[in-house]
Symmetry: C2
Subunit: 353 residues, 2 copies
DNA sequence: GGTTAGCACTCATACCAAGTGAGTGCTAAC
DNA sequence: GTTAGCACTCACTTGGTATGAGTGCTAACC
């Protein structure tokens, strides 16, 4: 059975209508609302075919039809028109990014917040992380008489702080010396040779054994903690606004999933390849049963040196995919351009004149 | 009208019962369940008096009574028995704190998570902040060819990173020199004299004008950002578990409030004095109308040098105050002891032998 | 005066039965 | 292939009727 033009149109009508109203839509409604030039009976026959193909389903006998996951999939892959953003929206997205450059965590938060407000869905933004993480620079900074912070800059330009508490803190100059020594050691050895570095350092600085030992531990944990990605969410409460989640049980499941860090991260990591495209996972296509009624639209943003972060939009399967994709594309473009202009040293991108 | 012993007992019965069941409780139930030695009619008379005093209310004519905010207040202030924590609970709370020393953000997150799991309420933990914030130490660390991170250690031992993007990055040695110069300047001037520091620095390092300017800007913003407190929440979804919030509208209001950073912060800042005590705000006592059906139990933890953070527990007014207070006291004690032992340089507190 | 039994009254909730209407599937005619 | 017509399904609404938990009041009791 193939899909002629009219059936495509009917499917599209059902999907767009259902996205708007969340109500099952019947043959008569389509006949009246969309000018297909045929009667409701004909549409009824077509709908029967569409159902046979698994593209739409009937919640119960005397109701209209709603799209199935497969229906949405077909729509998303073949039928969906890309949507132009309004100038105001585009500008808003740009200003959010540009106004928060420099403080990566704040930038993420504000991005998430803006997207949540714009889409009315739930947003998750993960900090950039690199598949191959190497430490680029280490600096010890004194905090008080008993503790120093090890500032660790990784290849992917992430900056992490580890507080080390030690018996006694060397003076600034010595801290600098030790930092320098570690930096040199890191350049010459790989992290696998941490043992070697440790023993080398300890012969040079036997009097700071405690500090050096703890510092190396921190370095190792920094590398390991690579999979301990930070992330920011916003618009979680939007979930409750959708009639499909007015059942508290369902909403609670979703909330639980959203609080479960590991779940989210694997969800984002899954679909393999991190490329430029926007990925869409519809309903049951993801195998977390808490999110079977949700769709996830996500895209990765490049952060230089193979490192990337992810922005994910989570909403009901009845989601405005077209708009969401446009918004995601726009924000990713903004983010990457700002990041690029930063590392180019010139801020020549996207300023209005 | 005064409250004799029996009336107190009746009020207590209503409150404890309602905390457990969330159902209005009637005279007959009290007479049967609690052995007061009088008939339901007598209890009925007493309940009428309690209602006249505004301590309990009737949701509708043919229902039992439930405690009012004033009833809870009386209970919390005069009647509530402090509750001993089970050894397992105490141990859990201790291990959470001890296992996460050193990474302040992770510690907060885990603390929030543990408390949420334990109490079944929503937890908000704010990072420590100081009423008088001074910068103690600054260190520049290179990131790549175009950016350095300014690591700022404040008096309250918070460590903040600001990424500065500059035309060209001086080598490590020069970065150290500049850092040192700023540190010296900060010791001699107050932050109000930032202008003076700036001009002094710029005569010393004219070739790094850009970097120095941006660094000083970062310092100022670090001081200002003092009120931009970070905080961590956990157990937000627990809200949905309570029958009083099964009305989606209400739940959504609460969620919105919890996502509104400023609201939460002012909520915590409000009740003035930050001392050792656990503060309890019941229902309408706080003036955020979104949280009128919630109670907030919060306590501050000391972080040395006048700086403190706050741990807040948010739940329905029908909250297990006694347990919540005990848990809060315990976790605060653990946190403070660990913090103290860190700055004492010896970890001699609370290890099992 | 405090306590109690008895009783009328209220009112949310559950239950049931009938009615309504949106929507379908099928058949026969066009 | 399309359409009109019709029987059928079934969620949802409406209204009327219990049911029962709980109260307030009164009169009697200790």
């Amino acid at each position: 059975m193939d899909l002629n033009d009219r059936k495509f149109k009917i499917l599209e009508a059902i999907i767009t209508d259902y996205i708007k109203t969340a109500e099952p839509i019947g043959s008569r409604t389509i006949a009246k609302k969309y000018d297909l030039g045929v009667s409701s009976a004909t549409i009824r026959n077509d709908m029967s075919d569409l159902e046979e193909l698994g593209l739409i389903v009937q919640p119960h006998t005397s109701a209209g039809r709603i799209p199935s996951d497969r229906g949405y999939r077909l729509y998303v892959d073949k039928m969906m028109q890309s949507q132009e953003l309004s100038p105001e929206t585009a500008e808003l997205l740009q200003s959010v990014v540009e106004n928060n450059v420099g403080q990566i965590d704040y930038l993420m938060q504000q991005t998430a917040k803006a997207l949540a407000a714009l889409t009315n869905y739930t947003i998750v933004v993960t900090e950039p992380k690199s598949p191959k993480l190497n430490i680029k620079h280490v600096q010890l900074v004194p905090i008080d008489e008993r503790s120093v912070v090890a500032v660790i800059v990784t290849e992917n330009k992430a900056v992490k702080n580890h507080v080390l508490s030690v018996g006694s803190v060397p003076d600034s100059e010595q801290l600098n010396n030790i930092s320098q020594a570690v930096n040199n050691a890191i350049k010459n050895y790989t992290l696998q040779d941490m043992e070697a570095i440790a023993s080398a350092m300890l012969t040079t600085y036997p009097e700071h054994k405690e500090l050096v030992t703890k510092l190396l531990k921190a370095l190792i944990s920094a590398v390991k903690q690579n999979d301990n990605v930070h992330y920011y969410t916003s618009g979680v409460n939007n979930i409750l606004g959708f009639p499909e989640f007015s059942d508290v049980e369902k909403a609670q499941n979703i909330f639980r999933a959203l609080e479960e860090k590991d779940m989210l991260i694997t969800l984002f990591d899954k679909e393999g390849d991190h490329n430029d495209e926007v990925h869409i996972v519809i309903g049951g296509e993801n195998n977390m049963k808490e999110l079977q009624d949700c769709s996830i639209v996500r895209a990765d943003y490049n952060y230089g040196n193979d490192s990337y972060g992810t922005i994910g939009v989570i909403g009901p399967t009845r989601m405005n995919y077209s708009q969401t994709v446009s918004v995601l594309n726009a924000i990713i473009k903004n983010l990457e351009s700002v990041i690029k202009s930063l590392s180019d040293g010139k801020n020549n991108g996207g300023r209005n004149g």
